[in-house]
Symmetry: C2
Subunit: 343 residues, 2 copies
Amino acid sequence: MVSIDEVARLAGVSTATVSRALSGRGHVSGPTRARVESAAKTLGYVVSSSASSLASGRNRNIGVLVPFLDRWFFSMVLSGTAAALMRRGYDITLYTLTADREQRRTVFETFLRRQRVDGVLAISIELDEGETVRLRELGLPVIAIGGPHPLLRTLAVDDVELARLATAHLLGLGHREIAHIGASPEFDVDFHIPTHRRQGFELSLADAGIPARPELFEPADFTIEGGFRAAKQLLGRPGARPTAIVAASDEMAIGALLAARELGYRVPEDLSVVGIDGHELGEFFRLTTVDQFPLAQGERAADAILDEIEAPDAAAPRTAQGEQPTHLPFELIVRGTTARLER
Amino acid sequence: MVSIDEVARLAGVSTATVSRALSGRGHVSGPTRARVESAAKTLGYVVSSSASSLASGRNRNIGVLVPFLDRWFFSMVLSGTAAALMRRGYDITLYTLTADREQRRTVFETFLRRQRVDGVLAISIELDEGETVRLRELGLPVIAIGGPHPLLRTLAVDDVELARLATAHLLGLGHREIAHIGASPEFDVDFHIPTHRRQGFELSLADAGIPARPELFEPADFTIEGGFRAAKQLLGRPGARPTAIVAASDEMAIGALLAARELGYRVPEDLSVVGIDGHELGEFFRLTTVDQFPLAQGERAADAILDEIEAPDAAAPRTAQGEQPTHLPFELIVRGTTARLER
DNA sequence: ACAGGGCCTGTAAGCGCTTGCACTAGCCTT
DNA sequence: AAGGCTAGTGCAAGCGCTTACAGGCCCTGT
């Protein structure tokens, strides 16, 4: 591997000047910089990250914590993050946090402490207090997507409002018997997303003067299959037939769609269904949904953390612990699974 | 951050001994090792990766190249890789290779040359010759999953056999009019996977003495929607109605299932459908498929590269360039979408 | 009893960069 | 005209580890 000395020799300057020319720090005259750059290019020189990190304390590397890689939502956020970081010349080191406490501990106490990253992005991941503390103790910028996290700077959608928007759409179409497919209590580990969405659903009904009816709530597990089963319950039950369903995720909404079809319901004529998330399959199923733009979420978080790292006054944003989460945008996408209630 | 000197002082030994005790290289007596370990634990010491890398040339870090993060198959392979690497104490640095040539070049010429990784895993990614050469020039172990790659050590399933197995299953059930949903030619960039699967399909038919009928082939784009459209073509066409379909991916098979349902076919009574891959949605749709265990593929590749890196005789495996790809296992999973042909 | 050979440990020389400091030269103030 | 600045460059001291080398010790075989 070619080293900085060879570049310095070829360009006829000291290694200090090469370092300054290539990193853009300190003063280097135009012609000198050009000579150095051309020498580096000729030799195919790239700074050694370990030597550079050791000397400067900077890594050009961000640690990203994710709970799963194989779920659509997280993949999208991660995609956005990866693209944005790469654009700005940063590497991304991936840490998958499973439920295995022992392994999680290793991540926080060993992997993240190797001084390999300049900042940490926690994507949609529930952290216990110890983990949060250990994260803060790294002394690095940390940004969480999805929250709230009491002690971390957080970017999150307002799940209550999200669900409220979905529900209001159905109300606006004249529906009154609206069911909700949410999550079983044990799924509520995830920042209470299901709970918040259920709250939004109920608040929206309340706004319209409609009392919540427990028999129109059915828990599921955020999968297509779960949504399918829940919808079968909801639609197969004697009495109380809803004319519309708000599912707390697009996967569950799609499951509901398939269930409805199997039971002979026409969608949207006999039943309206709205989902939440903006899942890629939504388009095929013509699913009306509230999109939360996960790709953009990832990009935004990546840019935010790099801004924080590269900010001259690094102190400012991090002191703002416990601040209100920054709210991310979402949008109702009306497609073909919701329609005005005919009576 | 606590440094090795503090640990040395607390344990009453030299930094050299601390390094040896903690890394397991060289000889350290039992009691000394114990003292060092306890001192390290007390102080919460973790070796600085940059200092360690600079001094030793080892990074405990593997670069992983993927084409997409948001497709189920790649996510699964990556999941497996991440889990296996973490188990063995390695970090994983992720590089997403898009179609943007310029950006790809940066990855090969800058990112990967920062001497940050000890090896590279190329997951299901088509590399042009220049890229392959640059990869080899890194002087690091490289393993590709999915191939073949002429110049790289490769782990891959035999796509011809995969499709052959799927087709043979239908033949074994008595089907003779079997259609195939494969890929449009422009999708063949991916190692000719579609082409190979089509070959397997046709070979299997030939084995049974059945001539290939072009009207029973329909191209699609590997998505549910594509499979749906293709199946509609196949099943809606006058004359030549197939009694079974082999789809080159589970997503397309699911699309076909939905199309069949919409056209009033009962599956599997009127139509058998078999997919390929082992997609998570397969279970819900009761899809018969040939599983290729992507998670295990990722784990296996990770273990293989670590073995190569940690092997005492590092020379051996890498000389074997251009060797035959190691073939990965696959297995027919019979579920509910295929049945014996009733006549 | 003594050479030979492990085992265990310390000393110190780097690994390849970055950056504080020193210095020079030119330019701007006053 | 003198002092003060700033830009541009080089020198050299680290950054926090790893490891070759050397030395001391103890065990073994003959």
